[in-house]
């Protein structure tokens, strides 16, 4: 399925996923512990430059992410302009943008598989409480495999209902879709469970 990864040959793309995630965490900690405009604005400028130059990302990627949170930025600035002062509003808004864009840059420059590997590594200590890390990888792989399948089944159900003149508006449309979809998913889960056992999942 389509990921939010943007394939490019760049320094940021080559940087290990773990390093990028660590930088993201540090950045988050800094902008929240030092809530001043220069820090927030500096972070935002740094993130944008890093994404465009070191990551060779198209500006559109960053613009799209900025637009997704634009409503929040406007609401926060407006709220503080009325309730506290404009400076606090702008600082909070810029801080938000910096963080969201930094996270977007990491996502756009890191392959899904690399991030899944980090998840597995981070979860490795869970072995101590009886969680098998390989199972986490399998669960992610299975979810990736079944999203398009479940989506296809949802489409078929909608088609079948449209062919019989089904409604497309209102809560009833949602019920008519979700009921057969849930049945389909439950049956699928049952057989998938059997199939996993048949291929030795419980002997691993």
């Amino acid at each position: 399925m389509l990921a939010l990864y943007v394939p490019r040959a760049s320094l940021l793309h080559r940087t290990p996923a773990g390093v990028k995630l660590l930088v993201l965490v540090v950045l988050g900690a800094v902008v929240f512990t030092v809530p001043t405009l220069p820090v927030a604005a500096g972070a935002l400028a740094g993130v944008v430059l890093l994404g465009l130059l070191a990551g060779r990302l198209p500006a559109a990627v960053l613009v799209r992410q900025a637009r997704a949170v634009a409503v929040w930025v406007v609401a926060i600035v407006a709220f503080h302009a009325v309730a506290t002062d404009v400076l606090t509003g702008v600082t909070t808004g810029v801080r938000l943008l910096a963080l969201v864009l930094a996270a977007a840059v990491v996502t756009a420059t890191t392959r899904v598989t690399a991030l899944v590997a980090v998840v597995e590594k981070v979860c490795a200590p869970l072995r101590l409480v009886g969680v098998r890390p390989a199972r986490i990888g399998l669960a992610v792989a299975m979810a990736l495999r079944f999203i398009p399948l479940v989506a296809e089944r949802a489409d078929r159900i909608r088609e079948a209902q449209a062919a019989r003149g089904g409604r497309v508006r209102g809560p009833r449309a949602l019920v008519l879709l979700v009921v057969p979809l849930l049945v389909s998913v439950l049956q699928l889960a049952h057989t998938v469970g059997e199939a996993l056992d048949a291929r030795g999942a419980d002997t691993a």
Partner: protein, 188 residues
């Protein structure tokens, strides 16, 4: 955890993703269209129970975090975890957990009303209880302001809670996935 539980967890994570891909459904009486994604939170808890429901939504968040556009509106990636509405995301596994716990506790007396209690408390109560304070902390705004903005979503969430409750009761009768409700937990 048995292999079959793994299949349930993976498939309900996938189901939650697909519910988010569905176009939002406009309802004439409501101010904002209904997106079906949080229905996945309630269904995972109500159908799979607390543990598997929690894990299904946790897995779903992993899918979001590794960069799949599986949130309603095709959003995803790490940026949604650092935005002001991230609290709602973080609340989802908890919401499924609480919904599942209540359904397991009420298992013997599960009907439309008790199931609705579970989906409303877990799927709406918990989600708002985490999501709204998060907005408030994040944007240095008081709770009341953050809560007011979230009110428009309540009617849609109530519709979903009713749907999830109806389905939870139907699944319990026809295809019970929760094998060992809380009262019987002592059985070997």
């Amino acid at each position: 955890m048995k292999t079959r539980d793994l299949a349930y967890v993976a498939l309900f994570a996938a189901l939650t993703a697909v519910l988010g891909l569905l176009p939002a459904i406009p309802v004439s009486a409501l101010p904002v269209p209904i997106t079906a994604q949080t229905l996945g939170v309630m269904l995972a808890g109500a159908v799979l129970g607390a543990k598997r429901g929690f894990l299904a939504l946790l897995l779903f968040l992993v899918l979001v975090a590794v960069g799949l556009p599986v949130l309603a509106g095709g959003r995803g990636g790490l940026s949604v975890f650092v935005g002001p509405s991230a609290g709602f995301l973080y609340s989802w596994p908890l919401g499924a957990l609480v919904t599942g716990l209540l359904v397991e506790l009420l298992w013997r007396r599960l009907n439309l009303v008790t199931a609705l209690v579970a989906t409303v408390v877990g799927g709406i109560g918990v989600v708002y209880a985490v999501g709204i304070p998060f907005i408030s902390l994040y944007s240095d705004a008081p709770l009341s302001a953050a809560a007011t903005g979230s009110l428009v979503f309540v009617p849609g969430d109530l519709v979903k809670a009713v749907i999830a409750a109806v389905l939870a009761v139907a699944v319990r009768r026809a295809y019970p996935v929760i094998e060992r409700p809380r009262q019987e937990a002592t059985r070997p």
